[in-house]
Symmetry: C2
Subunit: 412 residues, 2 copies
């Protein structure tokens, strides 16, 4: 039998928490806003805004300043500014050529960011986790102000199970069923939530919140250095699928007569538009990596016919696959990131023609193709967004006085 007591305060408390969440999201996504702008965006009344902002201010999460009247009559509105130093998120990234870490503040300010190049190739879980922990310790905001850290987000070039951060497959690292989440929790500490996700999924989130797809609810993000990563935003939310494996656009079968893919399949999109496909088409050696790509782009800019033809060939396959995704997902924006962002000026016209030819008219008319704005840090910044999510969903728990004793950072 149901023994719960009715709690008259329960419903208004849940409303308060939902309203705090709306305000936190607006401030985090947009930055400083006047009280009246906050009211217009959240639909909350002036007194509600005033009371709830008071709670954020008392906890030191925002500051309020009366705006100077810019020649407009009437009372100047008070501007609410998120305190970039509290709370913060720790973002980490395991990329193909590098690892990176950043401390990002409430409101999206990047307080510190460090990226360390490392050679491509297989690397052990132990070495990677040790390197990431060392990188985290070098970040002032994380090391000296751990009490303000609200969560850890980790981006990785692989297929990841969201529930525990198990990396099912990361071909560029040689990883298969690697318990990354668990290993990082042991070294970084479990004092705050730690979440792991695919770097392109996180890139899509970052580009939608702060980059080339700002304000769009349906977005395709294509990225990758060696292979092809993708992230989908559906109805304003990251598309993860049942377990977090969604968005693997690189492994859509697109050419039954195509090459064998490292995933074991044949004719995946990645075999046609991956880094090696471009290098080989341009008469260069497979596996040349970033420097070979840079050389190819230099040649293309200088008008080299072979380089330009190879880029156009890739653009045709790129546009063909994107047409399928446009028919499937009806997005407003396609964002080209990573290697595809650097190719952008050489491929955008051909992609447009392929969309005209292969996509259905109705969704074709609604989509534009743009380069990513956040560069190689899109995944890292998306990891920060992931880490902020528990706070943004329910900031109420962060408005209470917090314990000042925190566990020490375990040495790796």
């Amino acid at each position: 039998m149901d023994q719960r007591r009715d709690e008259p305060g329960l419903r208004s408390e849940s409303v308060r928490r939902a309203n705090l969440s709306s305000i936190a999201r607006e401030l985090h996504n947009t930055g400083p806003l006047s009280r009246s702008e906050l009211g217009a965006r959240t639909g909350l009344t002036r007194s509600t805004i005033r009371a709830l902002i008071g709670e954020f201010a008392a906890a030191g999460l925002v500051s309020e300043v009366g705006s100077t009247s810019l020649g407009t009559p009437g009372r100047p509105s008070v501007v609410v500014t998120p305190n970039g130093a509290r709370p913060t998120a720790l973002a980490l990234e395991i990329a193909v050529d590098s690892i990176a870490g950043a401390v990002v503040g409430f409101g999206g300010e990047i307080r510190q960011l460090r990226r360390i190049e490392r050679p491509r190739g297989e690397l052990s879980l132990e070495q990677t986790v040790t390197d990431l922990a060392a990188l985290a310790r070098q970040l002032d905001g994380f090391h000296t102000r751990r009490g303000d850290v609200i969560g850890v987000g980790v981006a990785i070039v692989g297929v990841v199970r969201h529930s525990d951060g198990l990396v099912s497959l990361a071909p560029n690292l040689g990883w298969h069923d690697v318990a990354l989440g668990q290993a990082l929790r042991q070294v970084i500490g479990a004092f705050v939530p730690l979440s792991v996700a695919n770097e392109a999924d996180l890139g899509a989130l970052a580009e939608t919140r702060r980059g080339g797809a700002r304000g769009c609810a349906n977005v395709i993000f294509i990225s990758g250095e060696v292979g092809v990563g993708g992230g989908l935003i559906v109805d304003g939310r990251p598309m993860a699928g049942a377990a977090g494996y969604g968005g693997e656009v690189g492994h859509m079968p697109i050419n039954p007569e195509g090459a064998t893919c490292h995933c074991g399949s044949t004719g995946c999109w990645e075999t046609e538009i991956g880094e090696d496909a471009l290098l080989v088409k341009a008469g260069r050696e497979r596996g040349g990596g970033r420097s070979a790509m840079d050389a190819l782009l230099r040649d293309a800019r200088a008008g080299d016919a072979t380089a330009l033809a190879a880029l156009d060939h890739i653009a045709r396959w790129l546009g063909l696959g994107l047409a399928g995704l446009v028919n499937l997902l009806n997005p407003q924006r396609i964002v080209l990131g990573g290697r595809f962002g650097r190719l952008f000026p050489f491929v955008v016209d051909t992609i447009g023609r392929q969309l005209d030819r292969y996509a259905l008219d109705a969704p074709r008319r609604l989509v534009t193709v743009v380069p990513a704005e956040l560069g190689e840090d899109a995944g890292l910044l998306g990891a920060a967004e992931l880490a902020f999510e528990p706070f943004l969903s329910d900031p109420a728990t962060w408005l209470k006085p917090r314990s000042s004793t925190l566990p020490a950072l375990a040495s790796a």
Copy 2:
């Protein structure tokens, strides 16, 4: 300046409406539930459930009966049963071979359903709308109890803009940029909301709520009679895209060496797995339609080698495309409806092998392939779900006394 007054009652009113919505959804999706089950599913307290159910009962939308105690100790819980007669939704469908109409009650009961075969081929908007209105007039529940109708949902085999029901493309009807929503509103009347959507998108919704994918949050539904329709459920919600054009799986490019598609593209999935592709592969005439398909399936059941080989050929292309969708969307369930539901026993094994070969291991392990349960009525029943949506989102407006004077049904 912001002149809004604070309304202290506003917030608790929005909570009440949200709670009414939770209860309405549980009753509609599941059917009769005890008060304690409703409490467990919605997280609401006993007194809240009691008060809100009282509102539904007073408006005649549910009835309450004390359950007989089935040998379990303790107070018998009261069972809440949606009144299938009030409110109701009118569902209409424009299929390739038929039109159909149904009256569906709160709780999902099909009160009346009528389907009228019609020859394939181009049909004018005027004729179609006239036929649909005549069909609607024959449905008792719609004609005699219009005051209980909450909305009209329309399913069509075409690409549809959700905002106004403009049919951008319906190749099997020969339609291009046809203002179906507007025409139907004129004939059926605009006394309740009327929404138009793609029949496969709606089939996906119906199969997820009441069919082969019940309880799944991420679903791929593949359907179609002549061509290939698809509907995607992402995170429990229908994936529509920016304007409602999403889910056009039939027009993923899958074979660059393939045939020209009626959409103007080349090598679309539909050119490999459409009805004609199967008939031609089996040595039959293109355009044979439903009767030719039925004959082919009879032959296959009798062991005809050519028919079986053709089915296996189609199954391989079907499995290849589904593998791409599995990598992209990481669904728990793939539901084969329409023609693919009838093919199911002949294709399921080969589809499984193709998924093993072409899909990534991690999402492959999580997905199962099942036949649709709602048969050819999936789209029609999904249209009813679409029509119920405004009521389920905010039942509060339906709990007020309603005007008994309604406009007469315009004759077409």
